[in-house]
């Protein structure tokens, strides 16, 4: 596959768009707008993946990131101050160090990309990326794929546990304590100096 002129132009546009929107994520006042800029950056990268004939991944990127950024925008509105960007706002710390780290990372990684002698072989003409990926996912790499599924299930359980308001020994946000070993006794496995004044929410 030799890229045509249109592919080059599309790549240039998408690459510029991805970097610009990625940069705008961190310099817009509105956090909801920031999440949509991040979505645009992901969509541009998904377009580049489609240009590279990884169609499945590009389309999966669109769908996954659209949902993910919606959830992110929702969390912004719930938790963050100034979600709509009505006031100018900049919430950064150690900005100079961060800029230096980002620039150094870019320069080093670009130097590796420019100076190294990477293979530059086009894909074979008759390859079918989606078909071969499907065969790989449900064939040789089934174990990897299934492991990812189990890890996602574990994540779901962990997320529910982490965000549940009620812990094993009572409400988590009140500092839940295990019951005592004896009736009315001190909580098991807890340091004893925390006990005074904490007895109000024990479950005896």
């Amino acid at each position: 596959m030799t890229p045509s002129l249109g592919t080059h132009i599309a790549f240039g546009v998408l690459a510029t768009f991805a970097v610009l929107t990625g940069w705008r994520v961190f310099c817009t006042d509105s956090m909801v707008r920031a999440s949509f800029f991040l979505l645009l950056s992901f969509i541009a990268v998904g377009g580049i993946m489609i240009l590279l004939t990884a169609e499945y991944l590009g389309v999966a990127m669109f769908f996954m990131m659209a949902v993910e950024m919606m959830v992110m925008a929702l969390f912004m509105v719930m938790f963050m101050m100034n979600p709509a960007g009505l006031n100018p706002m900049k919430m950064v710390h150690q900005e100079r160090v961060a800029i230096a780290a980002g620039v150094i990372a870019f320069i080093v990684l670009s130097a590796v990309a420019v100076l190294s002698d990477f293979p530059d072989a086009p894909l074979p003409a008759e390859h079918a990326p989606v078909i071969s990926l499907g065969r790989e996912l449900l064939g040789d790499s089934m174990l990897v794929f299934e492991t990812a599924g189990v890890v996602l299930l574990t994540t779901m359980v962990g997320v529910v546990v982490l965000s549940s308001r009620r812990g094993r020994y009572g409400r988590a946000d009140e500092g839940s304590m295990p019951p005592g070993l004896m009736p009315g006794g001190e909580p098991a496995g807890q340091p004893s100096e925390e006990e005074e004044g904490e007895h109000t929410h024990h479950h005896h």
Binding site: M31, L52, F79
Partner: protein
């Protein structure tokens, strides 16, 4: 569109994401920096797959694994944000001086 330009683009995304992850005070903005870095990583993986000349599907498989990692990062990150907010009423990194309840 060559492997070099694709890797430079990935490097730019990783650099911007690193800046965001290091500089932002809000937890969710910090996570957006991490996501931008993973974006660059996925692009680099697909670029290596597309220019290695064999068309072997393992390169795309790596990208799928990174996508799963991204979903896990976001889900656990939001759960932690909820837990920290409940415990400390904090939504910025500065508002936390210790993690112990």
């Amino acid at each position: 569109m060559t492997l070099t330009t694709l890797l430079i683009l990935a490097a730019a995304l990783i650099g911007i994401g690193l800046y965001g992850a290091l500089s932002q005070q809000s937890f969710v903005m910090l996570m957006m920096g991490l996501e931008l870095m993973l974006n660059g990583v996925m692009l680099a993986a697909v670029a290596f797959w597309a220019y290695s000349g064999t068309g072997a599907p393992e390169g795309q498989l790596l990208t799928i694994v990174v996508m799963a990692v991204m979903a896990i990062e976001m889900a656990l990150g939001f759960a932690l944000v909820v837990a920290v907010f409940r415990a400390k009423q904090a939504d910025t990194t500065e508002a936390l001086s210790e993690l112990k309840q």
